[in-house]
Subunit: 529 residues, 2 copies
């Protein structure tokens, strides 16, 4: 996340704040009080201005309080300006805006001071809905009844009120002076947030209630921000391509580039966008949670105690690892698992079929009741005092995920008649996009064999996109264009995938010509040295 | 009130209703449900469409209920369309809209079927605020406290709900299927209706909270119409020139005419507009309630029992009258009083100074403890069994009112360097605009001496304007232009009036050259026949 304000000379955030000294009314100029403010704004180029009907009375009181010297807070939410608030006198303190990555697992908040656009506070909390289902399908099922659905929505609103309230209070502000809010979530989370019924999202033919939304106001959504604070909810492209990814596209800037680039969001669903300023093609396919550290027995999220880097000396087969936050390891996160497989393969401990070679000259290869396994850390080195093992079964799961990922990338590229090598840049996003070592991901055949500088790890692209739209209102039009232009290919219903998939199950691939830079050790081919 | 639909070939009401058969979603076209409707509307030329954030979920339910065959109700409230409601299946019954003349004394309702624009029902009820003050100043004082102000506003909302509810139920409909509402009231009534503080309207420098309003929605104003029914509130021009008069201008059509015409609204305040499609000048001045039948001892509103026509035979001095609703008279309304003074003057019973000539050869002239009086109907002919008398004091009051009226017309015409005879048409509005006999009003010197065909009596112009804007949305722009263009002259602060006024106190005027068509009887000059 770039904490610095944007470098553009023209800084045009969603909110503007203006101090005005209006001529007081007189018999010669008896313009109505609110009309006088609107006229004053017009003279400053703020035109046309919409005033919410319910705020006419209260805003006029502020004008009188300030004796016609007032600070107006305005939002540019479309072709018109919205008058959000009027403060008596001159107000020069922070101008707060809030951005949210509304994730299935976590909510990531960014509090911005929109005077210059810097991020003042960040916070991340677990999604409060988790008790009603780790995965989103369980929550959709739980939300069949309208009251339960409403409850799930209210949980999100309360979490926003609580966390954002703490953030802004830490900076000496108050939540009702937060004047803008942007939210990027997947299609289902967006439905929950807006109180919409998500039940048809997961049933053929997979139809959301709505994909594009008008600006909401904080009051509509039971949020304790300023009641008239505009709330921007990123639109969805489809049931499996949500606003989080649209925000992700913004974060890469690919929608403005001439060269073709690719965004790969690595997660349970592999979401991929290919394109440039003229066209965009998107698809999503199930890659499985293994790449994020899920499902795998000792897999975990990238959190303190997770092994996120693994190196294996190909000569000695000695293993070293790095633990997030230091201390003893508790498990492996996605990048740790990818490193492990790639390194074991390079060292000849894994065959091209991904099998652990029991004959490998290391005592880390173990036979267990569940089959072969590889010892990452012995019991005395781990946090829980148990051997940290990755089993043959775990590796099998991981290979299926990486094969799905690679297949999706191949298919989408071929859809537009391109070769993968024509892609100038690949943005790797996802909760651990920044952690993946592209060299490792290429070696295991998860990402295509391109010069490493092609790859750019991204942090939380959904959060970054949500921050960006507060800082630069011209991106509202980019989002519109992205949604108008993007073609979405539903890979879930595409059988072509299966044929591709089988070849990609190998390390790095059944067709080694696809991975010229990856040396396949003789031992991995099942041959002795 | 014209009950017929407009004759224009292009009928473009505020609401449109469209039946759409949408393709149901499929794997090949998994557009979100609401987006599908918006696309379908776009294909029918309804673009862009705004959907209120709170209605996304409910409207989608209707789409599913109708199995993608739906009737959409839309309002054209600005550069965008608003999606007001969606009904499952094909809906062909009445498309209800409501118009209101929000008067200080009475609320006049018009229920329209906007399929073709005809008025289906009308109703008129007393303003429920009357117990808190007959005149508006008393109500403004009463409303100093915010809770009392809120109460006054809520009384209006309840009256709308009750009366409009009855109207639509009489036609077999329900209030929540009324989809549009237009309201024309004076500046203070408009403030009460919107819950705004009117206290500064009546204090120098006479400043309303706001003159121009966005479209409200029924829900914002606690109205039981369809919650998202757009509510159009006519803008004010100033504290003393309200939305009722702006609506009145629409009713005359003067804002589109090439020739200069004049609108005279006869009431406690005489409100006058002069102009054409290029310019408009407005002013208001206190004329006193006498012209409406107020103040004068036996004066009354134009209601059953009111004498509204009086004729006096100049030879025999015999008097005949007409009673509204038949039966015995209870008093005289404005047009009856005007007739009486004009006829008594022509018959020589009133002098040019407006004095009752005690020597007039009729036994209807009486001496009373309060001075001279004229007997309109003896006790045995009246509803209350008392003589129906009009006293010298009453006539004095009436002459002051007519003098004020004439003065205002002279001053405004001279302001633009015109002669009154250059005015091609004079629309006479006010609650009894239709009842005034222009010949009588000219003879008493209240209206200028122009060919009688110049005068066009209007009914309730505020109500008519409110009806028209529902029938013809292009008038929204007319209103905008009227407000941008109109110049308002505050005659209350204009001393020029006083000099004019004195001459106009005479019958018909001290300068008989201004009233060449009015024969002044010798007797009225104080000379014997």
């Amino acid at each position: 996340m770039d904490r610095r304000p944007p470098r553009d000379e023209e800084y045009r955030p969603l909110l503007e704040r203006l101090y005005l000294e209006l001529d007081p009314p007189s018999l010669r100029d008896n313009t109505a009080d609110l009309d006088r403010l609107v006229k004053g704004l017009r003279r400053r180029g703020i035109d046309p201005v919409d005033v919410h009907p319910s705020s006419i009375g209260p805003l006029r009181e502020r004008i009188l309080q300030g004796d016609f010297k007032v600070t107006a807070v305005l939002a540019r939410t479309g072709p018109k300006w919205e008058l959000v608030d009027v403060l008596p006198g001159r107000e020069e303190g922070p101008l707060w805006g809030l951005a949210l990555d509304l994730g299935t697992s976590r909510l990531a908040f960014y509090l911005l001071d929109l005077r210059a656009g810097e991020v003042a506070e960040t916070a991340s909390v677990p999604n409060p809905q988790i008790p009603w289902g780790e995965d989103i399908l369980a929550r959709i099922l739980h939300a069949r009844r309208e009251d339960l659905r409403r409850e799930l929505g209210e949980m999100l609103a309360r979490a926003v009120n609580r966390t954002a309230g703490e953030m802004v209070r830490r900076r000496g502000g108050s939540l009702d002076r937060v004047y803008a809010f942007s939210v990027a979530g997947n299609t289902t989370m967006t439905h929950f947030f807006l109180g919409l019924d998500p039940s048809r999202i997961c049933r053929e033919p997979y139809i959301p209630v709505a994909n594009r939304f008008p600006f909401f106001h904080a009051r509509d959504l039971a949020l304790d921000l300023h009641p008239r604070a505009p709330v921007y909810v990123f639109p969805n492209v489809g049931s499996y391509f949500g606003g989080d990814l649209v925000a992700g596209i913004l974060a890469t800037g690919m929608q403005r580039r001439e060269e073709v680039s690719m965004l790969v969001d690595v997660g349970t669903n592999a979401e991929v966008v290919l394109g440039n300023r003229d066209w965009l093609l998107a698809c999503a396919g199930a890659a499985g949670p293994a790449l994020e550290g899920g499902v795998v027995e000792r897999g975990m999220m990238a959190a303190p105690g997770a092994v996120d880097r693994v190196r294996v000396d190909p000569e000695t087969l000695e293993l070293s690892y790095r633990v997030l936050g230091g201390g003893k390891p508790r498990g492996l996160c996605g990048s740790g698992l990818i490193d492990l497989v790639a390194e074991l393969f390079a060292a000849g401990v894994l065959t091209v079929q991904g099998r652990i070679d029991l004959r490998a000259p290391t005592d880390r290869v173990r036979e267990t009741p569940d089959g072969p396994a590889f010892l990452v850390a012995p019991a005395e080195e781990t946090a829980d005092g148990r051997d940290l093992l990755v089993s043959q079964i775990d590796i099998g799961i991981l290979l299926k995920s990486k094969a799905a990922m690679y297949t999706i990338l191949s298919v989408i590229t071929r859809k537009v008649g391109m070769e993968i090598r024509d892609v100038s840049r690949i943005f790797v996003a996802g909760t651990f996009g920044n952690r993946i070592d592209p060299a490792m991901a290429v070696r295991m055949g998860m990402l295509p064999d391109l010069p490493l500088e092609t790859y750019q790890g991204m942090g939380n692209t959904a959060g970054e996109g949500a921050v960006m739209i507060l800082r630069d209102r011209s991106l509202l039009e980019d989002v519109q264009r992205i949604c108008d232009r993007i073609t979405y290919v539903e890979l879930n219903v595409n059988m072509e995938l299966m044929n591709e998939f089988r070849g990609a199950l190998f390390l790095p691939h059944t067709d080694p010509g696809l991975f010229p830079s990856v040396a396949v050790p003789r031992r991995a081919l099942g041959k002795e040295d």
